[in-house]
């Protein structure tokens, strides 16, 4: 039994168990057991992976396995993991675990909510473990569809509109993606769907790469909030319930960057090298533009959504710089942004659950009313603006140092432009912190509010520990990722 399979099997079992559940107690039991199991499993996986690497196992992919699924089209269910996917699986487990606690009191239709929630995580896990293009695409879709219902049913505000918009835009992206995948499949001779085998063949004609690289990159890029396809993000995040925002911004958006790297750039290195400049410009715009838009927003979730656009833009930006360090930085940034933004959305959800407003003009002095949440928010903010000691700093620094290794004017200039985002980030973070947390509470209604409950504290503390842990001791995770990135980068450098 391959350990990676468990990441699909456990959610399936959870789905079944949830279906049979009666009453909130049972549902919670299933969710907590399942997500704890997944978390424990991914920690075990990480440790085991590092141990194997230290023992000298140097195959690019570990835990490799494959079952034929539809031989006529060479579709296989093949799995395998390298440093990058291990890191992503770990991230997903943390978010799924904390998300469970963040939606502890979700109402109504708790059971259905968790059913979709688990289905979503199933898709995410599946995406990170497969090495088969078709299976990857299938899991990708599995992760997208539940989003529609989770936002449309349990959301707030203009939820139907946002759910529809998000789903349609992402589906539009996956249409491009499907074309790209088929292009890759037929371009490489239609003999295999396995990513690594295709990469080994390395025989997609350059002319085809020029067509299918942009399609694939944009297809994944939509999910990675690539300018100008990012507008689903503010609306979607603003309407989504807390744990869905967490999972979506924390993990689902990472599918985009991961796919760009693992599929688009890895399999079509020629086009990636030649066309990178177009996307570098777009991502640079994302980085600065997202940050600047965030400055003048008034809705907490919008601010965070634009901040995500900026940070995820940095992920794609770093990937396109195509040095080993910058790509390591990109994956680190995915991890770090996933954790930070999950923390942020969790806190915003908790604050919103109390004040019933997310408008920063209507909140003041929350530090006095709910000190725990407020301190959590300050920490999240500081982590977000890249304070040393938190994960954001190491990710950003790795990216910038990596990007600076490309020695030509164009890359230098865009790197410096991207660097300015750290100042702009400080502006919008401190603006919010100053407005809603500091000062004297003026709203009489707010003065009666209570601080966080135990499940909320648990969520926040878990995430802060992860963010700080990654920021204080980055060596192991940086090595883990660097190891996984190497294989792909060698393929990319002509």
């Amino acid at each position: 039994m391959n350990i990676l399979n468990l990441f699909v099997v456990i959610p399936l079992v959870m789905l079944l168990a949830l279906w049979l559940c009666k009453g909130i107690k049972q549902i919670r039991t299933v969710m907590v057991t399942g997500s704890t199991l997944l978390l424990a499993l991914s920690i075990y996986l990480t440790v085991d992976f590092i141990a194997q690497r230290n023992a000298g196992v140097d195959a690019a992919q570990l835990y490799v396995d494959s079952w034929s699924w539809y031989p006529a089209l060479n579709i296989k269910y093949s799995i395998g993991a390298d440093g990058v996917s291990i890191a992503m699986i770990l991230l997903s487990s943390i978010i799924v675990f904390t998300g469970t606690f963040a939606s502890w009191n979700i109402k109504p239709q708790t059971k259905e909510f968790f059913l979709w929630y688990v289905l979503l995580s199933l898709g995410v896990y599946g995406f990170f473990i497969t090495t088969d293009l078709f299976a990857m695409f299938m899991f990708y879709e599995t992760a997208l569809i539940p989003m529609y219902l989770l936002i449309g049913v349990w959301g707030s505000g203009r939820k139907e509109y946002s759910a529809m918009k998000l789903t349609l835009m992402l589906m539009g992206g996956s249409a491009f993606l499907l074309m790209g995948i088929l292009g890759i499949y037929y371009g490489s001779g239609a003999t295999t769907m396995n990513i690594h085998e295709i990469a080994e063949l390395d025989n997609i004609p350059t002319a085809m790469q020029y067509i299918f690289f942009p399609l694939t990159f944009i297809g994944f890029g939509v999910l990675g909030a690539l300018f100008p396809f990012h507008t689903w993000s503010p609306d979607g995040h603003a309407s989504a319930p807390t744990s869905v925002s967490m999972l979506h911004a924390g993990v689902l958006m990472k599918l985009g960057g991961y796919g760009c790297f693992r599929v688009a750039m890895y399999l079509m290195p020629q086009a990636a090298n030649d066309l990178a400049w177009i996307f570098i410009i777009l991502t640079t715009v994302s980085v600065v533009y997202g940050a600047l838009s965030a400055i003048s927003q008034t809705d907490l979730k919008y601010i965070n959504a634009y901040s995500s656009v900026s940070h995820c833009g940095l992920v794609l930006f770093a990937l396109l710089m195509m040095t080993r360090t910058s790509c390591t930085g990109a994956i680190l940034q995915m991890l770090s942004h996933g954790l930070m933004t999950a923390l942020f959305f969790a806190l915003i959800g908790m604050i919103y659950g109390r004040t019933h407003t997310r408008d920063i003009r209507q909140m003041q002095g929350l530090m006095k009313i709910m000190p725990f949440l407020a301190v959590g928010y300050v920490i999240a903010g500081l982590a977000n603006l890249g304070l040393p000691g938190f994960s954001g700093f190491i990710a950003e620094m790795t990216i910038f140092v990596g990007s600076f290794m490309v020695d030509d004017t164009f890359h230098r200039v865009v790197t410096i432009i991207a660097c300015t985002s750290i100042v702009i980030t400080a502006v919008y973070i401190l603006r919010v912190v100053g407005k809603i947390l500091y000062g004297e509470p003026e709203n009489e209604e707010h003065k009666k509010l209570t601080d966080a409950t135990w499940d909320e504290r648990f969520t926040v503390i878990c995430l802060i520990i992860c963010v700080a842990g990654l920021g204080i001791a980055p060596l192991w995770v940086s090595n883990l990722i660097n190891d996984g990135v190497g294989d792909i980068i060698t393929n990319l450098i002509p």
């Binding site: 507008t231 609306d235 400055i295 002095g365 500081l382 304070l387 140092v401 500091y438 000062g439």
Partner: protein, 641 residues
């Protein structure tokens, strides 16, 4: 020197303890935890200094650079990596002493000053965090570690300025301080990135050959780093955050915004000094010009401020600028041939930390007594606060440069270095030194002499013109006066430390000798400044003051408003960045980009409504379509077949 790790670990530990479980502690315990850990750090620092300098010079006549720890924290590619470690060399050991001493004094002082405030635990936690980061900054083994701790001191400064988080001014000030310094840090970061790429290392001592090939880039990188330093050290025009930072508790101003953090920029330039001298002497001179202008600007502004902490803040800016100038006027690494400024700068950093810390702590005692920062609430306090008065006077004499107080010696060395560089620079800086003496004694007289606000109010009360009895100013408690006395003692005697024996630009021993001509000029100017201040402010206001105020009204107004630099910045940030860039972008995103997406959806929908009537469910219209279709097909068949 393995124990040096505790110099960093203790404050961090105390930060964690206070931060995590401080809320459950009584105030006093929290204060004592912070103070004792800092006491231990101070002791360790002194031991380190004693052992380090006590070990003597090696065969080359240098103090050996010791690196007891250096671990790889984050690898960045094959050649580069960020390391974390401890580096001991003369300047870092000197900084250890400065930081731990002032920090310890501030910790003790705060026991009295912060008594009864809300959130004392938080306060001590932040202080510990700050001390940790500042110590980490000075013992950094490489430029990136310095940057890491640089950011951390920035954030602890942010947290401490915003300590009174319900006060709008404090919130605004903390935000401003963070953002302005962050803006400068951007350049610092780019400088580091350039440096790292071309020098192929982040350490302070890259291989000469590599640097030779990099050539033209190193001055740019160093210049960018200096901008970062200018942000932290409040050089014009990035100084705007420092006066506002006075919104924080006064002991914090003494520690962070006078003695330690704000000299980080000077320390940075001093750290990179060998590179500056060898590869970028022109950039170094730019530093001197920026410093000289800042010194003048801040001194002029300090002459007219009414808030005593602001006067001290501008005085700090001016004095730091002196240090920058001293570094900038160096023309070689040899202290005998144009490299004197390096030693002078470090010397001034040391003495300044002591007497400026003292001034701020004294100001804190005064504010504590009269409950206001404004000079109009003070006057005649010397009767009520003798200890504070005496120590404040010592500090004023020290900063004004009157022998034998410490400031005289260090400032004299700076002026000598300036005259060595060019006479113009020397005269210019001498003039600023005279201004320093003037504004400090203006401050001194306004606080301690003249008509007492308390007595005036008391008289009014007794005449029945005022309804409540004024609060009588009182001397501060022992926890506050003891640090004052200690610092005052240091300020008196620190000038006699043979500083050049320990620190000089090339590491060799250098014997300080007074240049009597320069010393005479500066003493004369200092006394002139003091005399002018005495005439003008000895008795509150004099006719001279009034006539000067009338004749120079425009200049005084402008200086009072700090030459409108804040307004300019506010205009740039608020008007241009917020209103002209961010708002339009947000609008553009919502309406154009998102609008395009929505438009696509709307068009699809429109298309749908347009074709929908065909599926009406009406059999008759279906049959019309059917028949016409059939007919057309038949016609086509007939025509083509």
């Amino acid at each position: 020197m393995d124990y040096t790790i505790f110099i960093l670990a203790l404050p961090l530990l105390s930060f964690l303890i206070l931060g995590l479980c401080g809320m459950k502690m009584p105030h006093k315990t929290a204060g004592l935890i912070g103070t004792f850990s800092l006491g231990a750090v101070a002791v360790l620092s002194y031991i380190t200094a004693a052992l380090y300098f006590g070990a003597g010079r090696d065969a080359d006549g240098l103090f050996a650079t010791i690196i007891p720890y250096n671990i790889c924290w984050l690898p960045l590619g094959e050649t580069l990596s960020i390391e974390m470690g401890i580096l001991l060399d003369p300047i870092s050991v000197m900084m250890l002493i400065v930081i731990s001493t002032v920090s310890l004094m501030v910790h003790i002082y705060s026991l009295g000053y912060m008594k009864g405030e809300r959130g004392v635990q938080r306060y001590y936690a932040y202080l510990s965090l700050f001390t940790f980061s500042m110590l980490g900054l000075v013992v950094a083994t490489n430029i990136f570690q310095m940057y890491v701790f640089w950011e951390l001191v920035g954030v602890s400064s942010y947290l401490l300025i915003g300590f009174y988080y319900t006060k709008p001014a404090a919130i605004a000030a903390s935000k401003k301080a963070f953002i302005v310094t962050r803006f400068a840090d951007l350049f610092f970061l780019i400088g580091i990135l350039l440096y790292g790429y071309y020098a192929e290392t982040f350490s302070f001592t890259p291989a000469e050959t590599v640097l030779m090939t990099a050539g033209g880039i190193i001055p740019v990188a160093l210049g960018l780093m200096f901008i970062g330093g200018a942000g932290k050290s409040a050089m014009f025009p990035l100084h705007i955050w420092l006066p506002d930072a006075m919104e924080g508790p006064t002991p914090v101003s003494a520690l962070i915004h006078a003695a330690t953090m704000v000299v980080a920029g000077v320390y940075l330039v001093a750290r990179m000094f060998p590179l500056f001298i060898d590869f970028a002497p022109d950039t170094l001179h730019m530093v001197a010009y920026v410093g000289a202008f800042t010194a003048l600007y801040a001194a002029v502004v300090a002459c007219v401020q009414t808030d005593i902490k602001r006067v001290l803040a501008f005085s700090t800016i001016s004095q730091i600028a002196f240090m920058m100038v001293a570094l900038g006027v160096c023309t070689s690494a040899d202290p005998h041939e144009g490299g004197l400024g390096y030693m002078a700068s470090m010397f001034h950093l040391f003495t300044h930390a002591m007497f400026k810390g003292l001034l701020f702590l004294g100001a804190g005692a005064i504010i504590h007594a009269v409950h206001s920062n404004e000079k109009s609430y003070m006057g005649g306090l010397r009767k009520y606060m003798p200890v504070t008065h005496a120590t404040f006077l010592i500090a004023c004499l020290a900063i004004a440069g009157i022998p034998p107080f410490s400031g005289f010696f260090s400032k004299d060395e700076i002026l000598v270095a300036c005259y060595d560089y060019s006479t113009m620079m020397g005269i210019f800086m001498s003039f600023v030194a005279a201004l320093t003496a003037f504004y400090m004694f203006r401050l001194y007289y306004l606080i301690f002499w003249g008509k007492s606000y308390y007595e005036q109010q008391l008289a009014l009360y007794k005449e029945g013109k005022s309804s409540h009895e004024p609060h009588k100013p009182h001397e501060a408690p022992a926890t506050m006066t003891v640090p004052l006395v200690i610092l005052a003692t240091i300020s008196v005697f620190a000038g006699f430390i043979p500083f050049g024996e320990f620190i000089s630009s090339n590491g060799h021993a250098y014997t300080i000798h007074l240049n009597y001509a320069v010393a005479a000029v500066s003493i004369f100017l200092a006394i002139a400044g003091i005399t002018l201040a005495t005439i003008m402010y000895r008795k509150g206001t004099s006719s001279l003051t009034v006539s000067i105020n009338r004749n120079l009204k425009g200049l005084i107004d402008a200086a009072y408003h700090r030459f409108y630099m804040d307004e300019l910045w506010l205009f740039v940030t608020k008007r241009i960045i917020f209103n002209c860039i961010s708002r339009p972008i947000a609008w553009f995103d919502r309406h154009i980009i998102d609008g395009t997406m929505d438009l696509m959806a709307t068009l699809t929908q429109k298309l749908g409504t347009w074709v929908r009537p065909m599926q009406s469910g009406n059999v008759q219209s279906y049959s019309v379509w059917f028949l016409s279709g059939a007919l057309i097909l038949v016609l086509i068949l007939i025509y083509f077949v």
